[in-house]
């Protein structure tokens, strides 16, 4: 099994979750209100009030096949809006 960590702007969350559903992920977990800095942008806590939104951190545990579907579906979103995606190994307990 694989673990995918996605970090991107909260405001794109709905669109991204739709992509995940289209990729038939078995499930996902969302943690909002994340902040951070990437190569280009800094996202601070007060962004939530200005309407820009903070970041969302989404975790998906899935098999490799699903992962490649996810990859295809979310790549355009990440390249248009920004955000990062990293994969690690994981096994069910």
């Amino acid at each position: 099994m694989k673990r995918l960590d996605l970090i991107f702007g909260e405001r794109e969350l709905d669109e991204l979750l739709k992509s995940l559903e289209k990729s038939d992920v078995p499930g996902y977990t969302v943690m909002k209100h994340a902040t951070g800095r990437g190569p280009e942008r800094e996202v601070s806590e007060d962004m939530e009030f200005t309407g820009l939104g903070a970041n969302a951190h989404v975790i998906i545990f899935c098999d490799e096949e699903t992962l490649s579907r996810v990859k295809n579906n979310i790549q355009p979103l990440l390249s248009f809006y920004g955000g990062v995606a990293f994969v690690s190994d994981a096994t069910q307990l």
């Binding site: 794109e12 209100h33 942008r41 800094e42 939530e48 009030f49």
Partner: protein
């Protein structure tokens, strides 16, 4: 004369709490108002402004100055972004120019209510229907901003962008803050018309509490604005000058339009403040969704980090001075 107005403005609780927040950042105090409390106050203020505006609109009806003023406000929020865009393009790319232009064509509700408090403090009367132009000026500016991106660009933008037209109109008209403001205005209007006894029951929440909540919120705005300083400095002297001079220029335009509309001094100040203020709620939200290529630090730092404090502290009394000078009092 203006300097005495400035001093009188500075010594009011809302401005003093704004300073308290600003200084907290400069002296590196750990005072913070954790998320989502600022959102609570922001939602509350929008709801209360809208509701009170609706009540007043019911009283005044749509006769007299209401319709021309709203019309003029729409025109200003279409024109100001165009002027800003031309200026900004001297130094910035299309994306950034359009996003900042949209922000300055739009409005800041908190600047507006600080101006109302200023007027109350100076015992200058104004009309509640001025909330109507406030509620309406976000959308046109956003649409102009996005049209500027659309037509200011060669067709090399990725395809994902094509289908975003509906999203644009959507963001322009239905973003949370504009929607709540306008919705509360309608509710206030209906309540005053059909259910006057409920107006009084709302009064402790939307009326009496307002001033204190405004102060609390400005404390947070002071913190947030001061935290923008580093990225404001990074954004360079062109944008820094823009963030002070553009509001002044827009204010001057506003004064002459207000004169054309024969607004009294109170309404005139509010109209001027709508022109001079810039959005940090609805516009950033819309730009993030539709023009992610624009650097958010640019439009947030200028509007929130400089234009907002400038307007709150110096702008309002300066604009009042302009109004007094250029608008003949009828009384």
């Amino acid at each position: 004369m203006n300097s005495s107005l400035i001093l009188q403005n500075v010594l009011t609780p809302p401005v003093l709490f704004f300073f308290l927040g600003t200084i907290a950042v400069f002296v590196n105090s750990d005072l913070e108002i954790p998320s989502p409390l600022p959102k609570l106050f922001s939602l509350y203020l929008l709801l209360a402004i809208g509701f009170k505006g609706g009540l007043e609109l019911q009283k005044s009806g749509f006769s007299g100055q209401v319709v021309p003023t709203v019309g003029a406000a729409i025109i200003m929020s279409l024109m100001i972004p165009l002027i800003c865009f031309v200026i900004l393009r001297l130094k910035l790319n299309v994306f950034n120019s359009a996003a900042i232009a949209a922000a300055y064509g739009s409005i800041s509700a908190v600047t507006f209510i600080t101006a109302e408090s200023f007027l109350e403090n100076q015992n200058i009367p104004f009309d509640g229907f001025m909330v109507a132009p406030l509620a309406i000026m976000e959308s046109p500016a956003i649409i102009v901003g996005l049209l500027l991106v659309k037509f200011g660009l060669p067709k090399n933008r990725p395809a994902s962008n094509k289908m975003r037209w509906r999203a644009i109109l959507h963001e322009a008209t239905l973003n949370g803050s504009a929607y709540l403001l306008l919705g509360s205005l309608v509710i206030g209007f209906l309540t005053a018309g059909y259910n006057p006894s409920a107006v009084e029951k709302m009064q402790p929440f939307t009326g009496k509490l307002f001033y204190g909540a405004e102060c609390f919120f400005l404390l947070d705005m002071g913190i947030v604005a001061a935290q923008r300083l580093p990225s404001l400095i990074k954004s360079g002297s062109f944008l820094i000058s823009f963030a002070v001079l553009m509001p002044l220029f827009n204010a001057i335009m506003g004064v002459f339009v207000a004169r054309l509309l024969s607004l009294g001094p109170g309404n005139a100040l509010l109209f001027v403040v709508l022109c001079a203020s810039a959005s940090y709620l609805a516009v950033p939200a819309a730009m993030r969704m539709t023009v992610p290529e624009a650097k958010s630090s640019y439009y947030i730092s200028t509007t929130l980090g400089l234009t907002f404090p400038f307007n709150i502290v110096l702008g309002i009394p300066i604009y009042m001075g302009l109004v007094k000078t250029f608008i003949p009092t009828i009384s």
